[in-house]
Amino acid sequence: METQFPMKQILNEDGVVVNSEYESQMTEELTKELYIKMLRARMFDRKSVNLQRQGRIGTYVPFEGQEAAQVGSSLVLEEGDWMFPTYRDHAATLTYGHSARNLFLYWKGYPMGCVPPEGKNIFPPAVPIASQLLHATGTAWAEQLKGTDRGSIVYFGDGATSEGDFHEGLNFASVYNAPVVFFNQNNGFAISVPMEKQMKSKTIAQKAVAYDIPGVRVDGNDIFVVYFETKKAMENARQGNGPTLIEAVTYRYGAHTTADDPSKYRDQEESKRRRETTDPLLRLERYLKNKGYFEEAWKTKVEEEITKEIEQAVEDMEAFGPAEPTDMFTHVFKKPTWSVQDQLDTFKAREKEEV
């Protein structure tokens, strides 16, 4: 089966083009945009880990190492498309237009962090595993019924493919020919459980066979192959040709969350080695250098701009003021039921007393 789903690659680890299919579209402009967006995601991620260490946000879920998979796939979305991320997909949500401030607010425990900017159909991070695949299918199906050419992209990890909802999502989308891209980030571990203990199948892409939809396996650390293959899948969906399952093989260097210790379940030397060999950002930097597009001064300028943006977002997060406890009551139903209203009134009365 593995041989039927070879890992597609455009850029090898040395930043050399090994597949020229899309070379004419790999412009300097696109390459630099991809690089900037990956760098921005990485800097956001590192900032978040630091904020967590300083106690300025709560537990955080780092994604360093997975920037190419997330940035490359999300860049193909157009206004009105639907995005269903997990809690590890801030590179994707940032790229599609979520505000860094709201992402920080999310990890600070503010409900506002779940609210996307107007016009961006970004769902809050899926916390139960694989259930969001069905929402992506439902929203995409709705677009199809409305006769638009919008679609959904949904993110999930390797562990999610063991859940029933993974299979129900693919089956429903296949039956209704819904315009969905099922974007799997196979980072090798479901918290601590490695892929070979998760499933006997060697690839995730092959699971598409059962649903008679295309299954594509890509090098998830090669942003070009991610971008062009996702673009193709989304265009296919928009044209009414149904869903695609994409497996992006990638790696997370760090822990599952800031609350766990990866040294307990995997070789830390391997993670160090990966930073040198498969790192998505480094690979694109090598390509930029090979093409003569890269200058240190340019990178420094880009880094400065991103730092400014992130620092501003942190400042905005911290200036946001205390979370509004009454939010807990006011959005359960459009109109509160008497029990929610009673509890809100009691809560407010108690708050007043305490003051």
Binding site: S131, L134, K334
Partner: protein, 332 residues
């Protein structure tokens, strides 16, 4: 000159079909989806004729997957449609519990109202129709305990149509439970036009001063029978309430009634422990404690799985058990 409302005599299941058809004619965004709801018209014929009238794009036979039905309905609801998802039996809803609990019920609150889920989940439930194992569960309490979802249970044709239309119009998710025993047990005159019965409002079916009887779904017929018999046998006059909505519950109706009678018997076929009857007891404690003349009684199913049909009558509350409880409250 008043214009007479045109009515037709319908069973409860026919009234449910009529409610869906009425709303589907009026609103293109109302969809029906579930297992066997299309050509077959549902295993109880609740969707009979809908596919013929509205086509298979609006009355959709889905794959056999409860989580899939609810999960995709959530997506449809968030993106402009008003899906009515049918669970073939409430006892089969467990695979979809995760979707309802972790998504449908809390998408509005998680996103501060940015995304909402205006959907209805319909499910036949309850024992007493000699259904196979698992088909007869009454697990309404799992959902009244779930913040963010309303739970509605009609017991007759008129209420069923009005409540289902109100549920479809509701901007939030509604679990609409249909007692199987009531589907064809009697017919009522049901207006042909659209009307609603307000969610959250119970009904007083009979006035009485001595004791308040409270039930929902198929148990409403049981308390009506008990009330009639106890009046004939003992001269006890019951105030008979059909709650119709379990969440939010009709606090005013319950309080007003028990403050008049000073006694209450609550009847449900679900197991007693953790049952909705306990919430009624709490509500009465909160609003009417000093009016009570005797402890509140509950008559419920047992804390056992609903047994196979050879012994299901031994599980279900009946008029005799209810009458016994009434006399205990009277003689306290």
């Amino acid at each position: 000159m008043s214009t007479a409302v045109k009515t037709q005599k319908l069973t409860m299941v026919q009234a449910i079909t009529d409610a869906m058809a009425t709303m589907m004619r009026e609103h293109d965004d109302v969809l029906v989806l579930g297992e066997d709801v299309g050509k077959n018209g549902g295993v109880f014929r609740a969707t009979d004729g809908l596919e013929a009238e509205f086509g298979d794009k609006r009355v959709i036979d889905t794959p056999l997957a409860e989580s899939g039905i609810i999960g995709t309905s959530i997506g449809l609801a968030m993106n402009g449609f008003r899906p009515i998802a049918e669970m073939q039996f409430l006892g089969f809803i467990y695979p979809a519990f995760n979707q309802i609990m972790t998504h449908a019920s809390r998408i509005r609150s998680r996103t501060l109202g940015h995304f909402t889920v205006p959907m209805v989940i319909r499910a036949p439930f309850g024992a007493g129709v000699r259904a196979p194992e698992i088909h007869s569960d009454s697990v309404e309490a799992l959902f009244t305990h779930m913040p963010g979802i309303k739970v509605v249970i009609p017991s007759n044709a008129y209420d069923a149509k009005g409540l289902l239309i109100a549920s479809i119009e509701d901007p939030d998710p509604v679990l609409f439970l249909e007692p199987m025993r009531c589907y064809r047990s009697h017919k009522l005159e049901v207006p042909e036009e659209k009307y609603t019965v307000e969610i959250g409002k119970g009904a007083r079916l009979q006035e009485g001063e001595d004791v308040t009887l409270i039930a929902w779904g198929a148990m409403v017929d049981v308390i009506k029978k008990a009330a009639k018999e106890i009046e004939e046998e003992e001269g006890v006059k019951c105030d008979v309430l059909d709650l119709r909505t379990l969440y939010p519950m009709d606090r005013d109706l319950i309080s007003e009634s028990v403050q008049k009678t000073g006694r209450a018997v609550i009847v449900h076929e679900a197991p007693g422990t953790g049952g909705v009857g306990n919430d009624v007891v709490s509500l009465i404690n909160d609003t009417s404690f000093l009016h009570m003349r005797s402890p509140i009684k509950r008559v419920t199913g047992h804390d056992t799985p609903v047994p196979m049909c050879a012994i299901e009558d031994d599980y279900l509350p009946d008029a005799n058990r209810v009458k016994h409880a009434i006399m205990e409250t009277i003689r306290f």
